[in-house]
Amino acid sequence: NPRELIAYSQYPRPADSPQWDSDKPSLKDIKIMGYSIRTIDYRYTVWVSFDPKEFQANFSDIHAGELYFVDSDPLQDHNMYNETQGGEFPQSSVP
């Protein structure tokens, strides 16, 4: 079912706010990882704490979230995450 197909991507960040190395943080400076799951209907991203020594993401420590609906917001300009209170990261969607 095309609706079940998911594409995952991720991006690291050194801090909650933009800083000089936000684009390309070195491993030791990565504090947050943004995990995105894409389906044909929506794009859902959670920015969670990340331990660069253990390579462990902590999905219960969510710094921020993004939720865009493809049909109504194809350019991803209207983040609906807070409207939906984020909710739990669907474990079934963890890559």
Partner: protein
């Protein structure tokens, strides 16, 4: 029954700004022609929108959380696991594997060797003129030479009188000529540098995109609800002399709108320049009668933001930076085998008035991932598809974390086709 050759074309920082992806502005007739003979994936995504992590991910068939490369500073065989790569797998299956240009990201992440000797049968080729890419070779309005972001050049004027991608195309064609007479199948990976910054391209391509026709991104402002952590402050382009001179405020800018349009103009011009290089390469494949025995895979390592959400460059999770072109030409499967003397990929000049409308090829709209490239190329070439990875898989040298996309290649109307490649 002979093994099919493989030509893998990887374009640096190419977003889906191509005619075959519905872009109305960009002139990309040669890539569009490839698409018309291919299966094109409309919704293909990279695993991380930055060069080295994305390339190591799709070339090993593992996600970044397995390669443990999120920056540029580690070599997966030392740092995470001795994972096999696509070229290595083909090499172990009797192919002569060859690398031209930017396939692996240079430096630590590929062991300063493009992962030789594991991945390649011969030392990888890098164009000599690449060393001038970030030097002062851009003539500014003051008549002086600068290291600019926008760098349309007179090729006769630049050091060595050539550009890296031109040299890469020449080398790739030379290798095809050599491999033509080889008894072994070849796996040739060609990595083009443009449209990666700086936008250094033959200045005549600017004429294809008159500034008065260039619009801003449809959503050029930072969205109200965008979390600060999600925003990419495009620090790399700010280092370039022409951008630095604008004194743009950090982190949110904005870039002055006329310069935004110039960036977009130069990105599109770089894409059309890149398209001509792909055109020369594919028409040479035709001339060497290799088209009916060679699979062609065309993709990029990630996209590039052209002002959407007030952002530029890659470094984010937005669709504009993670969505990539992905298409496969498979002789006798995505297109009928060319008859003797027939050309599937004659060169098209982007300056010609819009040549006859190029028919779209076959398309798949399901969401797919670059990490699927490994199993899919193996399947199309008739090799054993590596097994699915267990979790974790650091100890596994050969397995895959992406889906095999072969099922999208079985078209009903070809079942009766006389030339179905079996």
């Amino acid at each position: 029954t002979d093994a099919l050759n493989v030509l893998l074309i990887i374009v640096d920082d190419l977003r889906t700004s191509l005619g075959c992806y519905g872009d109305k502005i960009v002139r990309s007739p040669n890539i569009d022609q490839l698409a018309s003979n291919s299966l094109l994936f409309q919704n293909a995504f990279a695993q991380q929108a930055v060069c080295a992590p994305s390339r190591v991910s799709f070339l090993t068939g593992r996600r970044p959380d397995t390669t443990r490369l999120y920056d540029f500073n580690s070599y997966w065989r030392v740092h995470a696991g001795n994972f096999s790569t696509i070229p290595q797998y083909f090499k172990e299956n009797g192919y002569v594997t060859l690398s031209v240009g930017k396939v692996f990201h240079p430096g630590i992440s590929s062991n300063h060797s493009d992962d030789s000797p594991y991945s390649w049968s011969f030392p990888p080729y890098h164009p000599s003129s690449e060393k001038y890419e970030n030097t002062k070779t851009c003539r500014g309005q003051d008549g002086e030479l600068h290291a600019n972001l926008l760098c349309p050049v007179d090729v006769a004027d630049v050091p060595e009188g050539t550009l890296p991608d031109k040299q890469s195309t020449e080398e790739a064609i030379r290798l095809l000529e050599k491999m033509k007479t080889s008894a072994d199948p070849f796996f040739l990976a060609v990595g083009y540098h443009k449209p990666h910054i700086p936008f250094r391209y033959p200045k005549e391509f600017q004429k294809l995109y008159p500034l008065e026709n260039i619009t801003l991104a449809p959503d050029p402002h930072v969205p109200h609800g965008l979390p600060a952590v999600a925003y990419n402050p495009w620090m790399d382009i700010r280092q370039r002399e022409d951008v630095r001179a604008l004194n743009i405020s950090v982190p949110y800018g904005p870039i002055p709108v006329d310069f935004q349009r110039k960036i977009r103009q130069s990105y599109f011009a770089s894409v059309s320049y890149l398209d001509t290089q792909v055109g020369h390469l594919l028409s040479a494949l035709d001339d060497l009668q290799l088209t009916s025995s060679t699979i062609i895979a065309f993709t990029s390592d990630h996209g590039w933001a052209l002002g959407e959400h007030g952002e530029w460059a890659k470094y984010s999770n937005f669709d504009v930076t993670t969505r990539v072109p992905l298409m496969f030409y498979v002789p006798g499967m995505t297109a009928s085998l060319p008859k003797a003397g027939e050309k599937l990929f004659p060169y098209h000049d982007p300056f010609d008035p819009v040549s006859e409308l190029i028919e779209p090829g076959r398309r798949a709209t399901d969401l797919v991932e670059l990490v699927s490239l490994f199993p899919t190329l193996a399947a199309l070439a008739g090799l054993q598809v590596p097994p699915r990875c267990p979790r974790p898989s650091f100890h596994m040298e050969l397995c895959r974390e992406g889906r095999n996309l072969l099922k999208y290649f079985w078209f009903r109307d070809l079942e009766e086709g006389p030339d179905l490649y079996s």
